[in-house]
Amino acid sequence: MPPSPGLFYQVHFYLFGLLAIASALAFVTRKSPIAAALWLVSVMFNLAALYVMMDAHFVGAIQVLVYAGAIMVVFLFVVMLLNLGHADELSDIRGTWGRIAAGAVGLALLAQIMAMSRTRFLSVLQPPTNPVFGGPPDRGAIGTVAQPLFTEHLLAFELTSILLLTAIVGAVAVGKRKGANDT
Amino acid sequence: MAAFLAGIHYNAWILPVLLLIPTIGAVLVWAHGAVAGQGEAASMTARRLTLATFVLEFVLSIGLWWSLDQQSADWQAVFDAPWIEAWGTRFALGVDGLSVMMVLLTTFLMPLAILGGWTSVKAKVHAYHALMLLLTTGMLGVFVAKDLFLFYVMWEVMLIPMYFIIGIWGGERRIYASLKFFIYTMAASLLMLVAIVYLGIMAGEPLGRPTFDYDAILALNLPPAATFWLFGAFFLAFAVKVPMFPFHTWLPDAHVEAPTAGSVILAGILLKLGTYGFLRIALPFFPGVAMYPAVRTAIIALAVIGVVYGSLVALVQPDIKKLVAYSSVAHLGFVMLGIFALTVESVQGALMVMIGHGLSTGALFLLVGIIYERTHTRLIDAYGGIAKVVPLFATILTVVALSSIGLPGTNGFVAEFLVMIGSFRTYPMMTFVSATGVILAAAYMLWALQRMIYNKLDKPQNAALRDLNWRELGLLVPILAGILWMGVYPQPVLNRMEASARKLVTDVTRNAERQQASMMMGGR
C-alpha cells in the first residue's frame, strides 16, 4: 500500500476534486454554449492540478497547453464563427422528462461503476504486487514520459502524427466553402 | 395396338419425350415471339403452334393407355439417366397405375385449356403460351418422377409458370392472389425439400454418396422418431397443395384471379399433385405414422370438415368462380377421405374423384370463362333466365353441374360412391358425415344454377348474349364425352388402377403394423 500522504496533500486533492465536479455540473447545465465552454476550461484546469499532484507533471502541463489552450479555443472559435452565442434559440436541453431520464441513467451508470469496483476483479486487472510509487524523479518530468514514448511506443507516436496530418487535411477539405474552382 | 407399341419400344422413349416436347415447344414459341413480334398474325401462329404441340403430346400419351400392363403394379416405361453425379440424383422416370391416368388427364386437358383461352388472352400471347408449355413439363415431370430430387425440382418448375400466369394475365387482385399462392406453396414445399435431402442422405449411407431413388428410399427403415417429423414435412407440403381444410384459403383467390385456362389447369391438375403426393410418397414411405390411429383420424377428420365446410361456404358465394373453388375443396376432401380410409375401393374411388373432378371442374371453369368473355362479370346475381337466350350453353352447364354434384350416370357418382362405400368399412361415422356433403352439393350447385340460367330474364344486357360458337362447342364436347363415358362404363379406367391401388393398400397396412410394433417397443 502506498505511504499515506500528508494532510496538506489530501485537502488540496479534495479541493481540486470538488471544484472539478462543481464546474462540470455547471458546464452541463449552462444554456449558453460560451458559458458552458468556459466551465469546461475550469474543469480542465482542476484536472491539470490533480495530474501534477499525482506526479504526472508533463501530462498536467500538456493538459493545460493542448487541451484547455488549443482544443477549447477551437471550440470557442467555432461557436463564435457560427454565431451560436444567444441562449434562447438553443434551449436544447430536452424538457424535464429528458433530464430526469438522463439523470436516472447517470446515477445507474455511477451505481454500476461503484458496484463493479467492489466485485472481485479479473486476475489480469489485479494491481501488480510491486507497485511503482511515484517513479524515480531522475529523468525529470518530461523524461519519464518521453523515454517510453520514443522507445516502446514509437510506432504509436508516428501513427498519431499521421493521424493529426489527416485530421488537418480533412478539416480543411470539409470546412472549405464550395468555391468556383472546386474540382 | 399393344404389339405395335412394343414393336417400336414405345415404353423406352415415351416418358422423356413427353417431358421434352413441351419444353422444346416453349422455346420455339418464345423464340417466335422474339422474332415475329406481337402482331395479331404472330399471336395466332403462337396459339396454333402451342395447340399443335399439345395435340401431338396427347396423341403420344394415348399409347400409354394400351402399353400399360394392367396386372403388374410396379414401375413401367422406366427411363433412367445419370443427372448430377455428385449428389447422386438421377433423371429417373417411371409410370404405374396411380400416375398413368393423371398423365393422360394432363395431356387431355391442356389442348382444351389452350382452346378455352383462345380469344380471351390477347396481351403477350407468346409468353403466355410458352409458360403454359413449361407448366406442362413441370406437371408431367411430377407425375412421372421416379427420383425424389427430380420430383422436387419438377414441383418447383411447375410452380413458377403458374405464378406468372396468374400474376400477369389474371383479374384485378391478381398480384395479391399470385403472391399468396406462391408463398403458400413455396413455404410448405421448402420443408419437403429438407425431408427429401434427409431421406437422400440416409438412403445413400451404404453407397457413400446420397441417392434419391424411390425404391431405395422405400426400402429404408428409419428411426420412428424421424418418421414423425418427416411425415409432418411431407404432409404440410401436400396438404397445402390439396388443399386441405385449414390451408385452403389461397385456392378461392387464385381461382378467381386466374385466367380461364389458368383456372382449368389449377383445378384440373395442380390440385391433384397434392393427393398424388400422398399416394406416392407420404403413405408408402411412412406407413407407421400415416396409419397411427391419432394421425389417421385427425387427417380424416380434416378431410370430412373440408367436405362439409367447403360445401357450406360454397352455398353463400356471390362469385361463381369462388363457388366452384370451394366445391373443389369439398371434392378434394372426398379424395383425402378415400386415401386415408385405405381400402381398395376407397383408394380407387379417390383416384376416380381426382380424374372426375379434373373433367367436371375443368368444364365448369371453361363454361364460366366462356360466359365471362361475353359479360365480364362473375357475379351469379348478374345473370338470370339466360337459358332462353343461350340454351346450348345452359344445357351443357346443367349436365356438367349435375356431374359435379355426382348424379348417377356421370363420373361424379361413380367416384364419390366408390369413396364412400370404401371408407364406410373403416370409418363409418366419418363417411356418414361426409355423405351429407352430397346433399349440400346439390343445394349450392342447383341454387347457383337456378339463379344463373333459370328465373326471369330481367336484365336487358343478358338478352343479347350469343350462344356457343363451334370452337367453344368443340372444346366442351370431348369433356362431356369423358364425363358420360366414365359415368356409364368406368371399368377400363378402374382396371388400369386396380393393381397399384391394391399394392398400395396391402403394403401400407402390412408395413404399418410392423412399424407401429417397432414404435411401441422402441418407444419415443
Partner: protein, 97 residues
C-alpha cells in the same frame, strides 16, 4: 489517494454522459465528449502511479486523438451549419434509415 481519483473520474464521466444525452446542440455534445475523455485521462494518470508511466504516455495519445477528432468534428459541423443553418441535432437526420 487513487480510489478518490477513480471515483472523481467516474463522476466526471457520468456528468459528461448526461451532458451528451440531454444536449441537442452538436457542439456542446462535442464538449461533453471532451469532458468524458478528460475523465478517462484522469483514470490513466491515477493508475499510472501503480502501473508505471505508460499510463501517462497513453494520456498523450488520447489528447492527440481528441484534438484530431475535435478538428474534424467541428469542420463537419461547420459544413452542416452552412447547409442547414442549424446545429440542432433534431433537424439533422439525413442518415434516416
Amino acid at each position: 489517494m487513487i480510489p478518490e481519483a477513480l471515483a472523481l473520474s467516474a463522476v466526471l464521466f457520468t456528468i459528461g454522459a448526461i451532458g451528451v444525452l440531454t444536449r441537442r446542440n452538436a457542439i456542446l455534445i462535442f464538449m461533453c465528449v471532451e469532458l468524458m475523455l478528460n475523465a478517462v485521462n484522469l483514470t490513466f494518470v491515477a493508475l499510472s502511479k501503480l502501473y508505471g508511466v505508460t499510463g501517462q504516455v497513453f494520456v498523450v495519445f488520447v489528447m492527440t486523438v481528441a484534438a484530431a477528432e475535435a478538428a474534424v468534428g467541428l469542420a463537419i459541423i461547420i459544413a452542416i451549419f452552412r447547409h442547414g443553418q442549424t446545429v440542432n441535432l433534431k433537424n439533422i437526420n439525413l442518415l434516416k434509415g
